[in-house]
């Protein structure tokens, strides 16, 4: 089981997940229409790229965009959650051992304490995100079962990973569950709303280009996002 999950299954998962995300990014660009979107992308590429980058930067840096400043509490939870979600799996020592075995190279590994901390932050962050969906009417009204499901899919690898890490219960079982849930998460990326891992950049880039080209950029006034 372990061998299958970390062997063929893992490769298949990577291929589908990263391949799928790539396809989505390409489809996004192909599906743009300068006339219907009302953005002259090509002739004003320079303004567009500039606006696009400004727009992405404003939203990936905590507290940079006006939105992040207006909601400090949410911003903290949001960034902690996302940073944990991205950084932990990539720089976790155990994952790097696998990388080393498979490819003969590895990335710098996080000290165990930090990795643990990040995983916990992720869990707690996820919990808060679920709670605010229930607590706030303006979020409740747009929340669907699907939103909860995706949150569960996203934190499952952390739950199972932490159980395995603290060796509660049957280590091998939890390890397999951890790997499987991680793979489910990866597989879900291109096919669900989790595709925002790449589509966030596409959408932000696009709106940034819009602002950079016709909504101010060419008039020499940058929007203060």
């Amino acid at each position: 089981m372990y061998d299958f999950l970390t062997g063929p299954m893992l490769w298949l998962t990577f291929a589908v997940s990263f391949g799928g995300l790539l396809v989505r990014a390409v489809m996004y660009v192909k599906g743009l229409s300068w006339q219907l979107d009302r953005v002259a992308y090509r002739p004003n590429m320079k303004y567009g790229i500039r606006g696009g980058i400004r727009s992405i930067v404003a939203f990936i840096i905590p507290f940079k965009a006006r939105l992040w400043q207006t909601r400090p509490g949410f911003t903290l939870i949001f960034f902690a959650f996302h940073i944990g979600l991205l950084v932990t799996p990539i720089f976790l020592a155990a994952h790097n051992v696998m990388l080393q075995n498979a490819f003969g190279f590895s990335l710098p590994a996080l000290p165990t304490g930090v990795a643990d901390g990040l995983a916990w932050i992720c869990l707690v962050g996820g919990l808060f995100l679920i709670l605010r969906r229930i607590a706030f009417p303006e979020v409740r009204i747009i929340t669907t079962f699907y939103d909860y499901l995706l949150l569960v899919i996203s934190v499952m690898p952390f739950i199972t990973g932490l159980i395995a890490r603290y060796e509660m219960g049957d280590y091998n079982f939890w390890l397999a569950a951890h790997i499987l849930s991680g793979e489910i998460w990866l597989l879900a990326l291109p096919f669900t709303k989790l595709s925002h891992v790449v589509l966030f950049f596409m959408s932000r880039m696009q709106l940034g280009m819009d602002y950079g080209i016709k909504r101010g950029g060419m008039k020499g006034t940058d929007m203060a996002w």
Binding site: S33, D147, L207, K214, R215
Partner: protein, 463 residues
């Protein structure tokens, strides 16, 4: 019954139809007929498939349902923060459902969409600045309006509005003759005070071609006179076209895309005919958006620009003051607290936030200009945007919407509001009518004329 006499899927194309529809006071019969109007699901789905591109598709799909856009919408704020006013909810429950059901929706659903699209969103594009994923509901609601219009689900006034544009190529029944006469009349009327004042029609090769909003010849012709006076004092070589002078597009807010294109091509044709160095549009945000920001795309101009540089009135005015073409008598500057309404249609949609403030630096005594909060690209809609001002059916909702601007103005403590946008100007007038907070409002033109330092030779000879 599929199609009614007034409420149907066919746009108004003749004067006769237009008059008949206008004769249906308040759209009484129109809205009754709407209750029977069938939805052509196949056509609806076909047009969604053809026109919904990756941007809108992606936005609908990846909206994180995080609710961060809620507070960004002034309509959410003034309507007691009911969850039904959350931007994401508004679009998901309308366009989102329409797409999910592949156009298989019924009359009641379409009427709900109509109400949402025209009374719960002014297409002010503010929420787009606050969504982490860059989802702009204003853009999507404009799109939804197009779908609704094509199925006949559009408020009565806007059906008429786009009909006006189709029949007269103006948002009101101003014909070419009416327009030219108004120009002549205004020139004559003011000749005595401003010797040599002219409103040259169809002059080829002028430096400036000036265009305006049909409500000027129709209801405030003095606005045209004021533009003429300022061009005259500034020594500009300018003209107005006899055809293609109307740069607004109610069809843009009605969702009548075909008509939008026809109108803007009419203005561009005037540019090609008269070959001015550049064009200047009046103090109207909506007109500017239609002719300069969106227009080039309707017309299919790949560079996204009008045929000649086309600027908003505030840009010209700032330039004229900066270069000294117009001089202000410092003793006549505004010496009372004054605030400025940023029009979404040229501030958030084209970044013209600093030029207006530059103008104020010339005409307001230092220390008297008070900013609204928030302002510039973070400003709130005046409350009447996107056609909201004109729709009788949603008058009550519009009056609620005005409250945000009212609060903002009251917070500044100013009694004078400068609104260089027709629609904002109207909304602020209505706001005073409705809530009586004791304010005055003005375009820039009359204010500037009142404080000009006019060179002697332009003044009437003394008796």
């Amino acid at each position: 019954m599929p199609e009614g006499k007034f409420c149907n899927k066919t746009p108004i194309n003749t004067e006769e139809q237009l008059k008949a529809t206008l004769g249906d006071k308040g759209g009484k019969q129109y809205y009754e007929e709407m209750n029977q109007l069938d939805v052509d699901s196949d056509k609806l789905w076909a047009s969604i498939q053809k026109t919904m591109k990756s941007r809108t598709k992606t936005w609908l799909e990846i909206c994180a349902h995080c609710g961060l856009c809620a507070e960004s919408c002034f309509l959410y704020q003034v309507n007691g923060r009911v969850p039904e006013q959350v931007p994401s909810y508004k679009i998901q429950s309308t366009l989102g459902v329409m797409v999910k059901k592949k156009g298989k929706v019924d009359n009641a659903f379409m009427q709900m969409c109509m109400e949402t699209a025209w009374s719960k969103c002014t297409c002010c594009n503010r929420c787009g600045m606050y969504c982490p994923l860059g989802i702009d509901m204003g853009v999507m609601f404009s799109y939804l309006r197009g779908l609704l219009y094509s199925q006949g689900f559009v408020p009565w006034e806007l059906k008429i509005g786009s009909g006006m544009h189709r029949v007269y190529r103006a948002q009101m029944d101003v014909t070419t003759e009416d327009w030219v006469e108004t120009c002549e009349w205004m020139a004559e009327e003011n000749e005595e005070d401003w010797p040599g004042l002219e409103i040259p029609v169809d002059k080829v090769g002028a430096d400036i071609m000036y265009t305006c909003n049909a409500r000027e010849p129709k209801h405030y012709p003095e606005d045209i006179a004021e533009a003429a006076i300022l061009f005259h004092v500034a020594g500009e070589n300018w003209t107005v076209p006899s055809e293609g002078w109307e740069q607004t597009s109610l069809s843009m807010f009605a969702g009548d895309w075909e008509c939008c294109k026809d109108n803007v091509l009419n203005v561009y044709a005037a540019l090609e005919r008269l070959k001015p160095k550049r064009a200047i549009g009046t103090e109207c945000g909506h007109a500017h958006r239609a002719t300069v920001i969106e227009g080039p795309y309707w017309a299919g101009r790949p560079d996204g620009q009008p045929p000649v540089p086309y600027i908003h009135y505030v840009e010209w005015l700032a330039e004229a003051l900066r270069t000294g073409k117009l001089k202000i008598d410092p003793t006549k500057r505004i010496k009372e607290p004054v605030t400025l309404q940023d029009s979404c249609n040229y501030v958030r949609n084209q970044g013209l936030k600093d030029v207006t403030r530059e103008i104020l630096s010339y005409i307001v005594e230092p220390g008297y200009f008070v900013e609204m909060a928030p302002n510039k690209e973070h400003n709130y809609c005046c409350g009447g945007g996107g056609g909201f001002n004109g729709i009788g059916k949603y008058r009550e909702q519009r009056n609620v919407a005005l409250r945000k601007k009212m609060e903002q103005i009251l917070d500044t403590g100013c009694k004078l509001v400068i609104a260089p946008c027709h629609n904002c100007w109207d909304a602020i007038r209505d706001l005073e009518e409705e809530y009586k907070i004791g304010i005055r409002w003005s375009f820039l033109k009359p204010l500037v004329i009142g404080m000009l330092d006019v060179p002697k030779h332009l003044l009437p000879p003394e008796e």
